[in-house]
């Protein structure tokens, strides 16, 4: 384990050669500059813009807290957008993880042709997200898609899927499950990495299958599960592309002249996530000041989440790797 720099300087250290330090600065400089320009500056600038009214054409105009007042009391869509995002945070990643774990579990037990199975389940995650969304919306089209046609063969009346406000999010969840391949591969490796002797010891102690899973398997793969959960939750917080493309394609509406933003959220605002609403306000309505206020709120929520995270999760501890 590497000790942090703070502690290292507390004990007498050999004098560092000057060129070591210059080297370090030179190697780090581009990244530091990058952090400054693309992280620190925009964060502060967003805060600044959130107190202005700015449409990019004329200079920004200071309006104090008016954006925030509108955000919390008058914006008709922001809270439903936040709820939609929350839905994805709560449901999408956990379901994906469970599914990936189950499939990985099955593959771990399969002896022959495991590489073949793994390829089949991994392949969908290689598909560019836009392509997979478009394909799914097409397949689940209530009138002309193959899925409803096959259901009809079994005598089931196919639902409206992406065109039904109450089914659109679950439909995207199906898509999320379809592309769980990269998560599954990680889980598979973790499962296979569990020391065999622990299983044997458990067997000797008389543990049955379920107990082995609970007492041997799970504790060993928890770090990987946690890592996937965290990155998945962060991804859900910013969920944009799949929902935006699904709305656009499912609405089937011609976009003549008006742009992407007119179809966001279809059907009936059910797929409008927080980041899409930010996009609409900022880049379709050109209310960049208001969009900045939305961004600041997003930052506060994400930061709060991160603070909790960084305290708890070892993997993100800058002290070192486990």
């Amino acid at each position: 384990m590497i000790r942090g720099a703070g502690r290292a300087s507390a004990r007498p250290a050999p004098r560092r050669r000057p060129r070591g330090r210059w080297f370090a600065i030179a190697m780090l400089a581009p990244a530091l500059l990058g952090i400054l320009v693309f992280f620190v500056y925009p964060l502060i600038a967003s805060l600044f813009f959130s107190f202005t009214s700015y449409d990019l054409v004329s200079p920004p105009e200071w309006i104090g807290l008016r954006n925030y007042e509108y955000l919390f009391t008058k914006d008709p869509k922001v809270w439903s957008a936040a709820l939609n995002t929350l839905w994805f945070i709560v449901f999408l990643t956990p379901v994906k993880i469970i599914m990936a774990l189950c499939v990985a579990g099955l593959l771990a037990r399969a002896n022959r042709a495991a590489g073949f199975w793994r390829t089949i389940f991994y392949l969908p995650s290689l598909v560019p997200p836009v392509a997979s969304v478009v394909a799914f919306v097409f397949l689940f089209n209530p009138g002309t898609g193959p899925v409803n046609h096959i259901l009809k063969v079994f005598g089931i009346e196919g639902p409206l899927w992406f065109n039904d406000p109450s089914l659109s999010k679950p439909s995207l969840m199906l898509l999320g499950i379809w592309v769980m391949g990269d998560m599954m591969v990680i889980f598979l490796a973790a499962l296979l990495d569990v020391p065999k002797d622990q299983y044997e010891a458990a067997s000797l102690d008389g543990a049955n299958g379920v107990q082995k899973v609970w007492y041997v398997t799970l504790p060993n793969i928890v770090p990987v599960l946690v890592f996937s959960l965290v990155t998945g939750l962060i991804a859900s917080l910013q969920y944009f592309t799949e929902a935006a493309v699904a709305s656009g394609v499912a609405s089937g509406k011609a976009t003549v002249g008006s742009g992407t933003a007119t179809t966001l959220g279809y059907p009936d605002g059910s797929l409008l996530t927080y980041t899409q609403w930010l996009y609409v306000r900022g880049f379709a309505n050109y209310q960049l000041g208001y969009a900045s206020a939305l961004a600041v709120l997003l930052f506060i929520v994400a930061a709060a989440f991160l603070v909790v995270l960084l305290r708890r999760v070892d993997a993100f501890n800058p002290e070192g790797a486990k």
């Binding site: 004329s58 008058k74 008709p76 002249g257 880049f283």
Partner: protein, 452 residues
């Protein structure tokens, strides 16, 4: 992890914040070049140079525009027009807002941008050019003029328009023994219910008319003229809640939906063919009547030439019969970007596209959109079929209405549309309260953008 916040660190952080704020201010203060603002006393005798035209058309329609552009170049040797096609409103705004001189003339699909672009000067004020060159504005109807200017500032010229009317399938009418298209909403509903057929399992096979909001061209704006529905008052605030017509129209529509059944209509609508494909439900006969724009005649001629159909002004509600013959009109608008380096050339192109009769007729014929000057509308070269004549008449009707430009762009129509969809689903509550809520939402939106 140790973090000692000494005064030194605190000062550094403060300095950082101040620096970033200053950087942000500086960056945004330079809001792009403004091309020369002065308008020359006289139009130049000869035009030369390059001018760029950004528009939203694609494919076949873009080639129609290209034809007209070629004519302009032929009339003005020494001028090259750089055309950027497929540019929707979002993209237009991005390019104008960047203040670049890449764009001279921008042609927008809708009037959504007029409010903002006129009030901020992103599109130049055209009045000096109009006065200097003595452009005859009386050629353009009051309604069309009203949607191409904002609060007295004329920053765009209209170029072609869309008009909506009722389309009806003559064969289906004949089968049922109906000879005349409906003139009132009640007649429309009667005929529609008569022509509606069901499958054995109860689902809809054919609709006389689909009242479902959100299908194809069923929008509040298009239905509004049936009751003369007013959108905004003179101050730019919502006039929806206080208008007499909207509640009448909304109640009629909801009753119609309930008569057939909301769920059935929703399922039927979701399974209909795409609006601009050959599977359009009116083309296939799944809809006996529908409301649509004049461009539909071109699509029918192209995709369903055997369809025996007629057109008529859209019916009006009881108590609003004097409005019959009018309809909804809105159109493309074009302006000169403020960053344009060659405004005289841009104006020449813009004037050509919006007032030259031959150009308008050519575009009107190619795109099957309605021209916006009287001269072009009455031109013998304009191809007018029997069905197309309806649209010309509506365009010339004095009571034909539009949706006014606003600082919130399409925000107010979207707010009303969202509520109407809730109302039709039965979740909209009390109508009067709901409309008051729509007013509030729109007014709040306007306040957000219109300054302290």
């Amino acid at each position: 992890m140790q973090q000692r916040f000494t005064p030194r660190t605190g000062r550094r952080i403060a300095a950082g914040i101040a620096g970033a704020a200053a950087a942000a201010l500086m960056l945004t203060a330079c809001s792009g070049d403004t091309g020369s603002v002065d308008v020359a006393d006289e139009a130049p005798d000869e035009l030369s140079g390059t001018v760029s035209l950004w528009h939203f058309f694609t494919d076949r329609e873009a080639s129609v525009i290209q034809g007209v552009v070629d004519d302009f170049e032929a009339q003005n040797p020494g001028v090259t027009v750089e055309v950027h096609e497929g540019q929707d409103d979002e993209k237009l705004r991005k390019v104008i807002a960047a203040g670049s001189d890449d764009i001279d003339v921008g042609l927008s699909y809708s009037t959504d941008v007029v409010g903002n672009l006129c009030s901020t000067g992103a599109f130049r004020d055209l009045q000096p050019y109009i006065d200097r060159d003595e452009v005859d504005m009386s050629q353009i109807s009051d309604t069309v003029q009203s949607y191409s200017e904002f609060e007295g500032t004329r920053c765009t010229m209209p170029v072609l328009a869309d008009v909506n009317a009722l389309f009806y399938n003559k064969d289906i009418f004949a089968e049922a023994g109906i000879t005349e298209p409906p003139k009132t909403l009640d007649e429309l509903e009667d005929i529609a219910l008569k022509l509606t057929e069901y499958n054995d399992d109860g689902s809809i096979k054919r609709l006389g008319f689909n009242p479902f909001m959100g299908m194809y061209e069923n929008t509040a704006a298009h239905f509004g003229p049936a009751v003369g529905g007013k959108w905004l008052d003179d101050d730019g605030y919502s006039a929806i809640g206080s208008d007499e017509g909207w509640p009448v129209l909304m109640q009629w529509q909801k009753d119609f939906v309930d008569e057939i059944g909301y769920d059935k209509l929703q399922a039927f609508t979701a399974g209909l063919g795409q609006e601009f494909s050959a599977d359009n439900a009116f083309h296939t006969g799944q809809l006996a009547m529908t409301i649509d724009g004049e461009y539909r005649t071109a699509f029918i001629a192209d995709q369903a030439p055997d369809l025996n159909y007629g057109t008529a002004p859209f019916p009006t509600a009881t108590g609003f019969e004097d409005l019959y013959g009018s309809g909804y009109i809105v159109g493309n608008i074009a302006g000169i970007a403020k960053g344009s380096k060659n405004p005289e050339l841009a104006w020449a192109l813009l004037k050509y596209l919006s007032t030259d009769t031959d150009a308008l007729v050519k575009m009107g014929n190619g795109l099957k959109n309605v021209p916006t000057t009287t001269a072009a509308l009455e031109s013998p070269d304009l191809e007018v079929s029997e069905q197309y004549q309806t649209f010309i008449d509506i365009a010339l009707h004095p009571k034909t209405a539009t949706t006014p430009p606003s600082l919130v762009g399409a925000g107010y129509t979207q707010a009303f549309g969202s509520y109407w969809e809730k109302f039709q689903a039965g979740t909209g509550g009390n109508l009067a309260e709901g409309l008051a809520g729509v007013d509030q939402e729109i007014n709040d939106s306007v306040d957000l953008v219109s300054g302290p």
